[in-house]
Symmetry: C2
Subunit: 150 residues, 2 copies
């Protein structure tokens, strides 16, 4: 079982310079755990997890003092979401070094994919082969392939 056999080719991808609001709406509408972010050449460059988008919307001081979160009403929720307006997907991405990427080769074994996912603490990895993106693999899809049937 190789990555190319497991990858879901319909897993949504968004361009890194695309609209942040549209990316968030895609995550929301399809209840996704994350999106693949692609560069100008259509190559995957990062995973954008849903929790990261929430982290972008919610001010730091609210994340660190939950009592403050309680005072926000529906109106302010709308205002918070508006922080996505005019932003790009790039601005939502965690500020980490792009050394280790959540990307595996189509030829990677299930164990390799699991090792990348485990090391990166990522719920999704993108699969690439010969410069072509084949799709993505989630932890659930991978477990489904790694656990022997019984």
């Amino acid at each position: 079982m190789r990555a190319r056999d497991i990858a879901d080719p319909d897993f949504p991808a968004v361009p890194v310079d695309g609209d942040a609001w549209e990316a968030a709406s895609l995550l929301a509408g399809r209840k996704l755990v994350g999106l693949i972010v692609i560069d100008e050449d259509g190559q995957p460059m990062a995973i954008l997890p849903g929790a990261e988008v929430l982290r972008f919307i919610i001010p730091d001081y609210v994340q660190h003092d939950l009592a403050l979160a309680r005072v926000y009403d529906e109106q302010s929720a709308d205002e918070l979401a508006s922080t996505l307006e005019g932003k790009t997907v790039r601005q939502l991405l965690p500020k980490k070094e792009l050394v280790d990427l959540e990307i595996v080769d189509g030829d990677a074994t299930a164990i390799e994919v699991a090792a990348v996912m485990a090391r990166m603490h990522s719920p999704v990895v993108a699969v690439v082969e010969n410069g072509q993106m084949l799709g993505a693999i989630t932890a659930g899809m991978l477990l489904d392939n790694v656990l022997p049937r019984r």
Copy 2:
């Protein structure tokens, strides 16, 4: 919009002293991002993300040297998965202090839920009201409720 209005009551929960293999199979079969772990009294006590189960299966030295992952064949994948045999869900849980929990009150606002999710880096939170578990909320479900329609 409150947590109780957003929570999915059918989100699966597993007992902390339940079988690790069964929990992994549930994650796999339903392609879930994580499971709610409940204690002896049926109260949620943690979230078990799929990536955490993979981290348990894959030896540390393989996570740190991806070249080693490459040499594993299908046979060894079966052997790795067998590390779940005879283990409990408790043994799969990350060894963190159970001070901050991925749990919110049914009365929590969407912003409060988002703040907990963002702070805990968790893709799922459990919702509890009057000692009763109402269900769970994922980042995707929450974004779907937080983003104003347009």
